[in-house]
């Protein structure tokens, strides 16, 4: 087992427009990517539980061309609105960094 950050080039979050947040998990090695992808560890239920969201609003896409897993959710607060704490959406990936994954 390894932590997700140890097997990835990049874990990031970012706005996809002001109304959506998107997370990219880009793996270093294709073999690890395929293991994590096929183990379906990063799934809507787990993500929803971690981010306190209903799994129905969590969209997960496996992107083989870049050995990446993408997660997109509606923004709980529109970018820059009065109660938004992260205008760029750039610091939302923290809870993903130490996820235990097969290496």
């Amino acid at each position: 087992m390894a932590k997700l950050w140890q097997v990835t080039k990049l874990i990031r979050s970012k706005n996809s427009g002001p109304f959506e947040l998107t997370f990219d998990i880009i793996f270093k090695e294709r073999a690890t990517y395929e293991k994590v992808r096929d183990a379906k560890l990063i799934n809507a239920e787990w993500f929803g539980r971690t981010y306190r969201l209903k799994p129905e609003v969590v969209a997960i896409i496996n992107y083989d061309a870049a050995t990446a897993i993408k997660i997109t959710i509606p923004r709980p607060v529109t970018s820059g609105d009065i109660d938004d704490g992260d205008v760029f959406g750039g610091q939302q990936y923290g809870p993903l960094v130490d996820l235990e994954v097969p290496a």
């Binding site: 427009g17 959506e20 896409i61 992107y63 061309a65 509606p74 529109t78 820059g80 109660d83």
Partner: protein, 455 residues
């Protein structure tokens, strides 16, 4: 083989590029230079207030080098989403900078300006006709939203750029545009395969963002033929590889497989990314499906109120052990005090929001870990209809906060550390994005006005 050579000066005009890289890229004989100048990334302020993200000086520095290079080579310059939000005044501002540069450098060119701010009457008409449709997670849209917005822009496609180029424009400065349209316009005009063109445009619109390790903003370069494009960064210290180029489809996009444009959808499911050297990548295999209805995305922002903030931190372990309870009571006491000063009717005129740094300031309701360390930072934020009111309420609040007690200590305590005097900071107007919708116009040009002048 027919080809077109595309130079992207930088990911966002005003963020910079190396002069040396531009020179090198000009040696590769580009057919035009493009640069995006806008984004919704920095939030609603720039659309709401009209203030640009970058300084005039920063934009002028980038535009000067682009204009001088392009006029020497007799190729067009296309800049979209002028001065961040692409409002009419921001287009005028950037056009003014272009005129200044022309005077200073003795350049001559035909300038086209594309205006993308929207007429409220037009939008109300399209709304009545049912030709304004919501996108994902869109807020409510009605005539009230149209009236309340300080600015509404339409995100133009490639067509207004093509119109300007066909009318002989050497330099195009456009209001809000889809980032890709800037780079797609000329290749589409010349009849290249739209799938290749839009995929290239998606990669190129962010300048050097698709290189393996982007240490600073810089130019990028692509050679487009009908069935593929080759991307190779002109900066010798940069390289692209198939993964870095494929990864770029992930960026700021809800899916890497689709890119929605006014005229259709790029699909990259079958795209191939092949290394042609250790720094160049060949991309092919995407498809483009023309949309049944042409659509223009709207962006609008309205005033949310004026804000005053108070920043402080709490270090006392006794307070931190009962933090939620302490803070909840502090808020009650502050609201009581504000009511005592301003009368009961004040309740509906302001909002008090508190951000807790060290707990969930970054993630808000998404935060799974609300544990407390040895210190918590607090940002109290008052939002009210005027700055004066926000400031008076913040003054009442900060005095309650700084001395708010806990039962363990007797006597007057000072419970919050303020880094500033005065503790209250006026933050000015705050705006909110208020639409995520598309319009179905009769034609791609209907929502945009193009002006021409000889500079």
């Amino acid at each position: 083989m027919k080809e077109i050579r595309v130079l992207s000066a930088t990911g966002i005009l005003g963020s910079g590029f190396r002069e040396e890289t531009l020179k090198r890229a000009m040696g590769l004989k580009p057919d035009f230079i493009g640069a995006d100048c806008g984004s919704t990334d920095p939030g609603p302020h720039h659309l709401g207030s009209g203030a640009p993200q970058f300084s005039d000086a920063a934009c002028k520095r980038d535009l000067r080098l682009m204009l001088m290079a392009a006029r020497a080579a007799r190729i067009p310059v296309l800049v979209g989403s002028a001065m961040t939000a692409g409002t009419d005044a921001q287009v005028e501002r950037l056009a003014g900078i272009a005129r200044e540069i022309a005077r200073e450098e003795k350049l001559n060119f035909k300038l086209a300006t594309i205006f993308s701010e929207q007429d409220r009457g037009y939008l109300k008409k399209r709304l009545k006709e049912g030709r304004i449709k919501p996108l994902a997670n869109a807020p409510v849209f009605d005539e009230g939203v149209i009236d309340r917005s300080s600015h509404i822009v339409g995100m133009c496609g490639a067509e207004p750029y093509i119109e300007a180029l066909q009318n002989g424009a050497d330099v195009v400065i456009a209001g809000r545009s889809s980032d890709t349209s800037i780079f797609a316009a000329m290749p589409v005009m010349k009849g290249f395969n739209p799938a290749t063109v839009w995929h290239m445009a998606k990669i190129m619109e962010c300048g050097a963002a698709s290189v393996v390790l982007r240490k600073y903003p810089d130019c990028n370069f692509a050679i487009v033929t009908d069935d593929h494009f080759i991307i190779e960064p002109p900066n010798p210290d940069y390289r692209c590889d198939p993964a870095s180029v494929a990864s770029h489809n992930l960026y700021e996009n809800s899916t890497p497989y689709e890119l929605v444009e006014p005229s259709g959808i790029l699909n990259t499911v079958n795209a191939r990314y092949e290394a042609v050297s250790d720094r160049a990548v060949k991309v092919s295999g995407s498809t483009f499906k023309h949309a049944a209805r042409y659509t223009i995305k709207l962006e609008g922002a309205e005033l949310a109120g004026y804000q005053s903030i108070v920043l402080g931190s709490v270090r006392d372990p006794i307070i931190l052990r009962q933090f939620d309870h302490w803070l909840e009571n502090l808020v009650k006491a502050a609201k009581d005090r504000i009511r005592a000063v301003m009368g009961d009717s004040i309740d509906s005129q302001y909002r008090l929001d508190i951000r807790q740094f060290g707990r969930n300031a970054a993630m808000g309701v998404l935060e799974p870990d609300m544990s407390i360390g040895h210190e918590v930072g607090l940002l109290f934020q008052i939002t009210a209809p005027t700055q004066k009111l926000a400031n008076s309420l913040a003054k009442s609040l900060s005095h309650i906060a700084v001395h708010y007690p806990v039962p363990e200590w007797t006597g007057l305590i000072t419970s919050v550390a303020f880094p500033y005097s005065p503790a209250e900071i006026d933050k000015g107007a705050s705006y909110r994005f208020n639409m995520n919708h598309v319009v179905e116009p009769d034609s791609p040009l209907e929502m945009f006005r193009i002006g021409y002048e000889q500079v």
